[in-house]
């Protein structure tokens, strides 16, 4: 449910940046959502697409979501192991639980822990 308030943050940013750059409309916004951010990608997109229509500069903005692959650090040798990436606009499922089936690629340890991946970043903006 907090996805809507985060989508509102994105909308505020887009309106502010389009004004700052004297642009009439935002055509595309690229956002990175980390796999351990606790943000549901589909809900975030749904929320944004619902509220963007309230403002002429964002009404037709395309939202591009990048979902980086989850990374797991080995607690024994500190190697970063990369998990499976999700498809476009969707995170891989069960990014935490899949740890149980994985072993460190370097030392074979089963002691892997989620690393980073909590980001929500406005990466790039296209305006006209």
């Amino acid at each position: 449910m907090h996805e809507l308030s985060l989508a509102q943050n994105l909308l505020d940013q887009l309106l502010q940046l389009s004004k700052q750059h004297d642009a009439k409309i935002v055509t595309k916004a690229t956002v990175i959502i980390g796999p351990f951010s606790g943000i549901v990608v589909e809900s975030f997109a749904f929320g944004f697409n619902a509220i963007k229509q309230d403002h002429p500069p964002t009404a037709t903005a395309d939202l591009i979501l990048e979902t980086p692959a989850p990374e797991y650090i080995c607690l024994d040798c500190n190697t970063i192991n990369t998990g499976d990436a999700g498809t476009t606009n969707e995170h891989p499922k069960a990014v935490y639980e899949t740890i149980n089936d994985k072993l460190c690629s370097a030392c074979g340890s089963s002691r892997l822990s989620p690393s980073g991946g909590t980001e929500l970043i406005l990466k790039q903006l296209e305006m006209e």
């Binding site: 907090h2 351990f36 989620p114």
Partner: protein, 236 residues
């Protein structure tokens, strides 16, 4: 070929289109306010603990017993987050401790700007006596509060025995951001199929540095470890 840039792609135009690299966190506004809250809390002479859990896991009862156990030795302040009512703040005030009620009116979490407002009111209620610990009791929700830093020094997750020991696996994001995992209502262990070792080991897989405490606010079993934990935080 495109006349403007010489590239082979024909599906783009150069009218007034501009691309801006932003690379800014959408949580930045909240993070900035959280950093300022932290400074504010430290100026008040205190540390803050953000309590996150499902509704009914025993956050307010924990605070009531903590106030009783610590007595006058530690100056406590409480910021309560709920969707509606002053009920939790009233329970804390009944113990003679300053409490501010934040009602979100529907929002599923507290954010840093709300807590900023709460800190100012708490200072006013404190009548210049100062604070050692400020507890921020988040809105009962094991999901959304995890995303929002409030400026706390420590984040504690409560899980009560009736909720089940599978919750760390089911709500991992919340456990990933925590410093302390508190298993509450241990007096009910005999009535529920709660596997303490499962809860502990799953939580530690997600967050290896997690401190874990088990206790009952009703019987007081294990409560002295929590009090010692708090005193260690204060003397650190």
């Amino acid at each position: 070929m495109c006349d403007v840039c010489g590239c082979q792609l024909h599906d783009h135009h150069h009218s007034d289109s501009k691309i801006v690299e932003v690379n800014q966190s959408l949580l930045e506004a909240n993070q900035k306010q959280a950093a300022s809250n932290k400074t504010h809390i430290e100026k008040m002479g205190a540390i803050a603990i953000n309590l996150i859990s499902s509704p009914g896991s025993g956050k307010t009862t924990l605070l009531e017993r903590t106030i009783d156990e610590l007595g006058d030795s530690v100056k406590i302040g409480v910021i309560e987050g709920d969707i509606e009512t002053e009920r939790d703040a009233d329970r804390i005030r009944a113990k003679g401790v300053p409490a501010v009620q934040l009602t979100t009116g529907g929002a599923c979490h507290l954010d840093a700007p709300m807590v900023h407002g709460g800190l100012h009111v708490l200072e006013h209620f404190g009548k210049g006596k100062g604070f050692d610990i400020i507890f921020i009791e988040n809105v009962g929700n094991l999901v959304c509060p995890a995303t929002f830093d409030l400026g706390e020094h420590h984040r504690a997750i409560l899980l009560s025995v009736p909720e089940g020991s599978d919750k760390p696996v089911k709500y991992p994001t919340t456990f990933k951001g925590a410093d302390l995992f508190m298993i509450t209502k241990t007096d009910l262990l005999q009535h529920f199929d709660f596997d303490i070792e499962e809860a502990k080991s799953e939580a530690l897989k997600i967050q290896p540095d997690l401190d874990i405490l088990c206790f009952s606010s009703t019987t007081g079993e294990g409560f002295d470890q929590w009090i010692t934990y708090l005193k260690n935080l204060l003397s650190a």
